[in-house]
Structures are given as structure tokens and as C-alpha cells.
């Protein structure tokens, strides 16, 4: 029932995308927001009702087959991660003044494709979903105004998504039992006979490459920082689905019979991503790229949790695996909520202050108090500080690493010690990047006259960021609530028993744990007492000119002071960069790998585009034709 309704909603999204050519902008964006909200409510209701796995065969599909959809306890929470943050994104898209028809069509189409990817139950539907993600993402990014600045990111997104799709579909096809044609093979048949030997290895490699592209993990993180105004949707919401594919393929479909070392590549990719993200964020000089590249922080940590879960899975430690999966899930929730919130706030700041260059912003909290406060709340959640939302995930990850250390083996233990180091390093650098961003953009003094007269965004957009920030805060003090939707699915993956909603996160039943509600309550209490004590003494603060290290008072034509006497984005991270020494060379090396990868995709795209001069419809036709050809080749081969 729910699944049928969801299929109808996806169809409605596709319909909105097609109708966007004729109907007004507002109908499309608000319609998308409404459909997403409805979808979120549906999924939530089915999760709370503990609905059983539902299957649906659509009459469309490969020749002689059908497209299978399924809604199971693993896919449903990820649908929630897709639909909930998509609502404010769609509302923000409504307020965009410079959108083109292509971006308008891309919004519902992209969401439909993402939902289809999550609901897919066979290789064909997965291919359809992932192909749609690439094309719709390309539409979303194809904006004339940003063409020079973002440097063909639309094409590289399309290329990367197509490449990921090919890898992931190949991985799923490889898993199909030999007796069954891969197109007709649904996930249930794969689960019954998990892959072994070289097939399993190929599945691991292919799914890792594919998911890394989709989730923007190292080494395919190049596109993440260049997505511009579409970043809230593509980075904040979309990358989670890349991790969903990893959950589905490596843990669900491959079963528990896989060797122990499977966790190692995940741990490595996650570790490198988790450190690169925040470090790169201290180098970026524009608002959205800083926040978008920081996404790698949570994504990397979530993948590390997945790696630990695979280790524990192979060693038959369901409790540790459960901890690691819970950690991974909480980090994904943090990412979906905080990153989307931050990227939306970045959009609001750009709208209000007219620039996204860090060296022109500053002091926005004076002129945009709501956006500023919500951005600070998002930074707090994303910076892994207690009692924020991110810290709960980090704490669980640390506990799972403690547990995984007992599996034994010198290599594994060394790997886990290094993983602990990386987790701590990435968290502390992320905290630094968060302070840098908050200090440069929202606090301090404005750096240009334009920023000094920034205007707060309209009420609808303010409501969006406020509701996201409230949700983040609520889940931060009640992480059990954030775990609740995923409990059933994660417990099944970990071969453990699901635990109910609890106020205290615990590594074991009897052990002491982390109680964010107690920490938050104590913090609030002490702050309240201190505030009461200071208010009791009389009126608030008297305002005087800042001492500012003894600089002379600025001339009257500089009402907000001399911008040069204030620390900037480049200077804030300068001590860190000096300590790191040759670090700036290292991203060059990584970039080299990555740009050559992206160039390859680019070349593929250009080849396809050259064949289709007429533009968007032609490109869609070429992509569809390529898919058909690929399917035909596979059909002949099998």
C-alpha cells in the first residue's frame, strides 16, 4: 500500500519535471516540496507501524521482465533522509531568482531518480534510477551564469554519475546467480546465494568506486566543492544515497560470509576522506565550497563506521557491528540535516549579502540574525562537539573502534589505532574549520559596504532554516529518536537484536554511556544560573569602541572599521598551513588523480554531447540510447 503510494509520488515528481515546461515556477517547486513532505510522512508512518517488507512489480521494464520496487527496513530510513531535507531545499529553489527552466525541471526529476535508486529491487531499476540521477543532476547544474565559475561541473557530475551507475549496476549484475538472467534477478535471489571468490572481490571494488563517485568520497570528491547553488540538494541530500548503496550491496546483498579484510578498504577510504574534507575546507575561499567540501568529514566517518561493521561482521561480533552501524547512521543523519542546513544558510547569506567570497563577507549575524544563528547551530552540530548531533555518532564510532580492537591480529589493531588517530584529527580540524567559518562570515565586522547592509531573507526561507535547526537540536539531545527509524534495518544487518528508544547511548546493556540529554541539561542549567547572576546586576552591556590592539579609530567614511585590521579566512588557517608544511602540494597530487578521472568522464560526456548538438533533449536521448545499448550488450552476453 505504502509502496504503491510512493510509486505514485515518484510518478508525480516525474510529471512535475515534465510539466515544468508549461506550468509556473512556483507550482513546480512547491509541488515538489509537498510531494517530498508527503513521501516523508508516508515512510515515517510505515516505519512506525513496523511495516513488513513490501514488493511491487511495475509493468514497465526490460523485455520480458518487470521493474521491481521494494520498501524494506533498510531502504525506508534512507528515503526519510532523502525526503525530509529535500522539502526546505525545494522551498529555497522557489525563492531563487535566477533559475533557468533546466534547473527547474531538474529538481523534481533528480528527487524522483534518487527515490527510485533507494526503492530499486533489481539491477534494471537501479540502472534506471542512477541514470536518472546523472541526467537530472546535469540539468540542475546547467546554469548559464555559473558556467565560468564552476567550470563545467554539470558535465563532470553527469560523467561521474554515469560512471558510478555503470560500476554499481555491474556490481549488482555480477552478483546474480548464474542460472538467472541478471535483468530478471531481484535482490532476494542474490541474498539467497551471496557471491564468492573473485566475483565477491569484483563486487567490492566496483561498488566502492561507484559509491565513492556518488557520495563524493575520496578520490572522486572533486565535484563536491563546485556545485554552487545546487549544493544543498546535491551534496547535503544526494551524497547520503551513495552510502545507502554501500549499505545495500556490501552488508545486505553480500551477506555475512565475506572475509575480514573487506573492512580495510572502507576504513582507508573513509579515513582519507574524513581528513581531506575539513583540511580542504580551511583552504577554500568561497562560502559554498567551504561547506560542501566539509561534507567529506561526516561521509568519511560514516564509511569508517561501515568498515568497522564489516570487520565485526566477519568476526561474528554482532554487538560491535551494531554499534558501528548505529554510528554510521547517526553520522549520516548529521550530514543530511546539518550539511543541508549549512548549505541553505550559505545560499541565504549569498542572497542577503550579494557575495559568496569569504574575504567580502563578515558580521552577518548583525544584519541576518536568524540565518546567522541557524548557521551557528548547524556548525555546532557538524563540528562534533557535545552535546551536538555529530558528537553522538562520533562517540558511537569510538566505542565500536574500542570493541573492534578485541578482534585481534597485529595488522588490524594497528589499523584501528590509526583509525582512532584519524577520527580525532578530523574532528579537531573540523572544529577549527567551523570556528574559522563562523568567525569570518557570521561574526566580526563586515568587510565590504555591501555586506554591511545585508538583508535578512524572506520569512518562508527563515522558517526553513529554523525548522531544520530545531530538528537538529531535538535529535542532538535525543539521539535515540534519530536511531529509531533505522533500528530495525540496522539490527538485521548486524545480526543483532534491535534496541528500543533510549535516552542514553550505551556500548553494552550494563555499561555507563553517553547521555546527551544530561549534558545538555547541565549546560543549560549552568548557563541559566550564570545569566541570571549577570542580569541581576542591572542593565545589559554598555557599548564602547573596540580597543582592537590599539589601532587608531577608523575614519568616518568607514563606519564598520578598517576591514584590513581583522583576521580573514586565509590568515585564520595560516598557522595550520605552516605546520602542515608541504601539505599544499599533496592536494595537488590528489587533484591530479582526480582531475584526470574527471577529465576522462568529461571526454566521454563531450563525445556524447557532440553527437547531440540540439541541447537538453538530445542529451537525454543520447544517455537513454547509451543505456539501451548497454542493456542490449548485457542481454547478448548473458
Amino acid at each position: 500500500m505504502v509502496l504503491t503510494l510512493l510509486a505514485i509520488l515518484i510518478a508525480a515528481l516525474v510529471g512535475l519535471a515534465i510539466a515544468s515546461v508549461v506550468v509556473p515556477r512556483r507550482v513546480v517547486t512547491l509541488g515538489t516540496a509537498g510531494v517530498c513532505g508527503l513521501g516523508g510522512l508516508l515512510v515515517l508512518a510505515s516505519l512506525l507501524a513496523r511495516g513488513q517488507t513490501a514488493m511491487l512489480a511495475l509493468p514497465v521494464g526490460p523485455p520480458g521482465g518487470a521493474a521491481h520496487l521494494t520498501l524494506d527496513p533498510l531502504g525506508a530510513p534512507f528515503l526519510l533522509l532523502l525526503f525530509v531535507p529535500a522539502v526546505p531545499c525545494a522551498v529555497f529553489a522557489d525563492a531563487e531568482r535566477d533559475g533557468t527552466p533546466a534547473t527547474l525541471a531538474g529538481l523534481p526529476a533528480w528527487l524522483a531518480a534518487m527515490a527510485l535508486t533507494v526503492l530499486a529491487d533489481d539491477a534494471f531499476t537501479l540502472a534506471l534510477g542512477l541514470g536518472g540521477v546523472g541526467v537530472a543532476g546535469w540539468l540542475l547544474l546547467s546554469r548559464r551564469e555559473e558556467a565560468d565559475e564552476t567550470g563545467g561541473v554539470a558535465r563532470s557530475y553527469l560523467g561521474l554519475a554515469a560512471f558510478s551507475a555503470v560500476c554499481l549496476v555491474a556490481a549488482v549484475a555480477l552478483m546474480a546467480p548464474p542460472a538467472v538472467a541478471w535483468l530478471d534477478c531481484d535482490y532476494g535471489a542474490i541474498r539467497a546465494a551471496p557471491p564468492e571468490g573473485w566475483r565477491a572481490f569484483a563486487v567490492l571494488v566496483l561498488s566502492l568506486i561507484g559509491a565513492a563517485g556518488l557520495a563524493g568520497l575520496f578520490p572522486a570528491h572533486g565535484w563536491v566543492s563546485r556545485t554552487g547553488s545546487a549544493s544543498a540538494l546535491l551534496v547535503g541530500v544526494g551524497t547520503n544515497i551513495g552510502i545507502y548503496v554501500l549499505f545495500r550491496v556490501l552488508l545486505d546483498l553480500c551477506g555475512s560470509a565475506q572475509p575480514q579484510w573487506w573492512g580495510a578498504p572502507l576504513l582507508l577510504i573513509g579515513a582519507v576522506s574524513a581528513v581531506i574534507g575539513p583540511l580542504r575546507a580551511t583552504f577554500e575561499m568561497h562560502l559554498e565550497p567551504v561547506l560542501a567540501i566539509g561534507s567529506l568529514h561526516q561521509m568519511g566517518l560514516a564509511v569508517m563506521g561501515l568498515g568497522v561493521a564489516l570487520f565485526a561482521h566477519a568476526a561474528d561480533l554482532p554487538q560491535v557491528a551494531g554499534l558501528a552501524l548505529d554510528a554510521s547512521w547517526l553520522l549520516l543523519v548529521t550530514h543530511a540535516l546539518c550539511r543541508t542546513l549549512l548549505l541553505l544558510c550559505a545560499g541565504a547569506a549569498q542572497r542577503g549579502a550579494g557575495t559568496r567570497r569569504l574575504d567580502r563577507l563578515g558580521g552577518l549575524i548583525h544584519r541576518m540574525p536568524v540565518t546567522g544563528s541557524c548557521a551557528l547551530a548547524g556548525l555546532f552540530g557538524a563540528a562534533m562537539l557535545p552535546p551536538g548531533l555529530g558528537f553522538a555518532g562520533l562517540w558511537l564510532l569510538f566505542q565500536s573502534l574500542l570493541g573492534a580492537f578485541r578482534i585481534g591480529g597485529f595488522g588490524l589493531q594497528l589499523l584501528i589505532a590509526l583509525a582512532v588517530l584519524v577520527v580525532a584529527l578530523s574532528a579537531s580540524v573540523a572544529a577549527m574549520a567551523a570556528v574559522q567559518l563562523a568567525g569570518v562570515v557570521f561574526l566580526g565586522r563586515p568587510r565590504t559596504p555591501r555586506t554591511a547592509v545585508a538583508e535578512e531573507v524572506p520569512r518562508a526561507l527563515r522558517l526553513c532554516v529554523i525548522s531544520l535547526a530545531t530538528l537538529t537540536g531535538l535529535l542532538a539531545i535525543l539521539p535515540g529518536l534519530a536511531l529509531l527509524p533505522a533500528t530495525q534495518g540496522l539490527a538485521r544487518l548486524a545480526n543483532g537484536s534491535g534496541h528500543g528508544m533510549s535516552l542514553v547511548l550505551k556500548p553494552a546493556v550494563e555499561a555507563p554511556g553517553y547521555a546527551p540529554i544530561a549534558i545538555a541539561g547541565l549546560l543549560a542549567l549552568v548557563c541559566y544560573v550564570l545569566l541570571w547572576f549577570s542580569r541581576r546586576r542591572g542593565p545589559g552591556h554598555r557599548r564602547e569602541p573596540a580597543w582592537s590592539g590599539g589601532f587608531a579609530a577608523p575614519p568616518p567614511w568607514m563606519p564598520f572599521g578598517d576591514p584590513a585590521t581583522q583576521i580573514g579566512a586565509a590568515s585564520f588557517a595560516e598557522p595550520l598551513h605552516r605546520i602542515l608544511g608541504p601539505w599544499p602540494v599533496v592536494p595537488g597530487a590528489i587533484d591530479l588523480v582526480q582531475t584526470s578521472f574527471v577529465r576522462l568522464c568529461d571526454a566521454l560526456c563531450r563525445a556524447s554531447r557532440a553527437a547531440s548538438r540540439p541541447g537538453i533533449p538530445g542529451s537525454i536521448a543520447v544517455t537513454l540510447a547509451a543505456l539501451v545499448v548497454a542493456i542490449g550488450v548485457w542481454l547478448v552476453a548473458s
Binding site: I365, L376, L443, A515, I519, L531, L576
Partner: protein, 315 residues
């Protein structure tokens, strides 16, 4: 019954922390002065300074936002909660189940981040400089601390500070190499994180003091109190993590509690004297040398974990 005893012990502990923090600063400054042959300020001088600052009218820079005042309060609150959770003379207090070491490290980081935000808020050059330096140093000190916590967590099977202190008490003289290395790493982190903050002369440090430059009156008192409390917290943390002998176990009698108190005061005095001596002998650590020190701390932390499983393999 145990609950009531735990609650009373918790109240006593809180009162003790509040009383000890500024006194400890005064004591260390006095010892430092005596060591270089000066008469030194009275030990209760920090109390007087706090009272003087609290009497002043609160002033804020024109360019600062409300974040300034709130961030200083948040930072004091975070350090205060850590002070409440880290045991002093007895284990098993009311908040002991929440005293997770990773949470404690996180709350110290929270205090640091909020004071950094207060530093950049007014938009003055030196505040930003101090914030940048402090966050950089924190970026390196946190991994070392987390590795030390990981080592102890492996030894005790939990990252809860009470469990770890009880474990250390039981293992007693049978000290592990891993724990020793973790101790050195933690001490280095404590020195870098500001155990020496209130003790060096402001014009030299340019870290926390730089961030406090735009504050005066009660806000400055809050920052000073935070610094004093942070020093006490670090000493308490080192005592509870590595030198928990004498701390009364949960549900102990009055005599054991008194013994625990005496032991705690003695350990605190010894550590304070050691810190004063260290400061006097070493002088100031240049900011650009701190990362080297912390690099050593990170290596020691890694070595601590390595020693742990090397030891586990041979036994």
C-alpha cells in the same frame, strides 16, 4: 543509601572545585614567585581580582554581537560541567555515570571553540590571531588526548572515567608501559591546552589572553574563572586517569573519604609545585614549537596503543 551518599559527595565535590580553582592559581603564582626570589602575591589574590572585576560595569565592544557574552558563559559552563564530572576525592558520585572521557574531551573542545568565537566576535586583529593559534594547537592536541583515552579505554574495557580510575586502582603497582606513555602524552596535551594558560605573562602567550583583550568587568571575570577551573580540571583529570591511589571507592565510609580528601590535596599540591617548577625552569614554550611537542605526544599515544597489544601478545 548509596544514592544519598553519592549525592552528598557530589555536592561536596562541587563546593570543593569552586573553592579550589582560584586558590590553586594563586598558590602556583606564589610558588613561582618564591622560586625566583620574589615575595609574591597573596595566595588569595585571584579571588580578590575576581571580586573586583565582578563589581565593574559590563562593557562590550561596539562591533561585537550577543555571541560574545554568551560564548564566554558557555565556555565557563562547559568547563564547570567537566569539573563536576571528574572525580576528586571519591568515586561513585551522582554524575559519575556520565563522566565519559570522550565527552570530557569534547566538552573541553566546546569550551575552547566558544572562547575562540568570543575572540573573533569583536573583529579585532589580536582576538582573531589568538583564536587562530589556539584552534591550530587544539587541532594537534586533541588526537594525542584521544589516543591516550583509547589506551585507557582498552585497559579498562570502558571509556568511563570512574571505571578507568577503579581499574587503575586495582592494577596498582602493576603499571603498564602503555598507561605510562599515555600519561606523558596527556601531560603534554595539558601543557599545550592551557594548563599553563593563566601562568605565563600575557604579552608573551598571545593565545587566550589575546582573545580576552576586548573584554572587561564581569565578562573578563568569567574568562579568568574559566581559565582557573580549566587548570584544576586538567590536574584532576591526570590524577583520576593515572594516579588514582587513595581516591575513595564508591560507597566508602567516612574514614576512607577523609583519607581520599587528604590524598587528593597532597597530590594537587605536588602537581601544582611541579607545574610551577616546570614553568620556572622551562620558561615559555614558543608557539611555533608547540606543534613539535604535540607531534611527540601523538607518537607517544600511538606507541601506548602499540605497547598494549604487544604486551597482550606476549602475556
Amino acid at each position: 543509601m548509596n544514592l544519598v551518599v553519592g549525592f552528598i559527595a557530589q555536592i561536596l565535590h562541587i563546593a570543593l572545585m569552586a573553592a579550589a580553582a582560584p586558590t590553586l592559581i594563586g598558590l602556583i603564582r606564589w610558588i613561582q614567585a618564591r622560586l625566583v626570589g620574589r615575595a609574591g602575591p597573596p595566595i588569595l589574590q585571584p579571588w580578590r581580582s575576581l571580586a573586583r572585576l565582578l563589581r565593574k560595569q559590563p562593557i562590550l565592544a561596539e562591533s561585537a554581537s550577543e555571541v560574545s557574552a554568551f560564548a564566554t558563559l558557555l565556555s565557563l559552563a562547559a568547563v564547570a560541567i567537566v569539573a563536576v564530572m571528574v572525580p576528586s576525592f571519591t568515586l561513585g558520585t551522582t554524575f559519575a555515570p556520565f563522566a565519559d572521557l570522550l565527552v570530557i574531551a569534547g566538552l573541553l573542545a566546546l569550551a575552547r571553540c566558544s572562547i575562540a568565537l568570543a575572540g573573533v566576535d569583536a573583529g579585532s586583529a589580536l582576538g582573531g590571531l589568538g583564536a587562530s593559534r589556539m584552534m591550530t594547537i587544539a587541532g594537534l592536541s586533541e588526537p594525542a588526548l584521544v589516543l591516550a583515552i583509547f589506551t585507557l579505554g582498552l585497559l579498562a574495557g570502558s571509556s568511563n572515567l570512574d571505571v578507568i580510575a577503579a581499574m587503575q586502582q586495582e592494577s596498582g603497582a602493576n603499571w603498564q608501559t602503555g598507561a605510562g606513555l599515555a600519561l606523558i602524552a596527556t601531560v603534554l596535551v595539558a601543557i599545550a591546552d592551557g594548563a599553563n594558560g593563566p601562568l605565563v605573562r600575557p604579552e608573551l602567550a598571545m593565545q587566550r589572553d589575546a582573545m580576552a583583550l576586548e573584554f572587561s568587568g564581569p565578562d573578563l571575570a568569567v574568562i579568568d574563572a574559566t581559565e582557573a577551573l580549566r587548570l584544576l580540571v586538567w590536574l584532576n583529570l591526570i590524577i583520576a586517569m593515572f594516579l588514582p591511589f587513595g581516591i575513595a571507592p564508591a560507597g566508602a565510609g567516612l574514614g576512607v573519604l577523609l583519607l581520599g580528601f587528604v590524598c587528593w590535596v597532597a597530590k594537587l599540591l605536588v602537581l601544582a609545585a611541579a607545574l610551577a617548577l616546570l614553568q620556572t625552569v622551562m620558561g615559555r614554550i614558543r608557539p611555533m614549537h608547540v606543534p613539535h611537542m604535540l607531534g611527540v605526544a601523538i607518537l607517544l599515544g600511538l606507541l601506548a596503543v602499540v605497547f598494549l597489544f604487544a604486551g597482550a601478545g606476549t602475556v
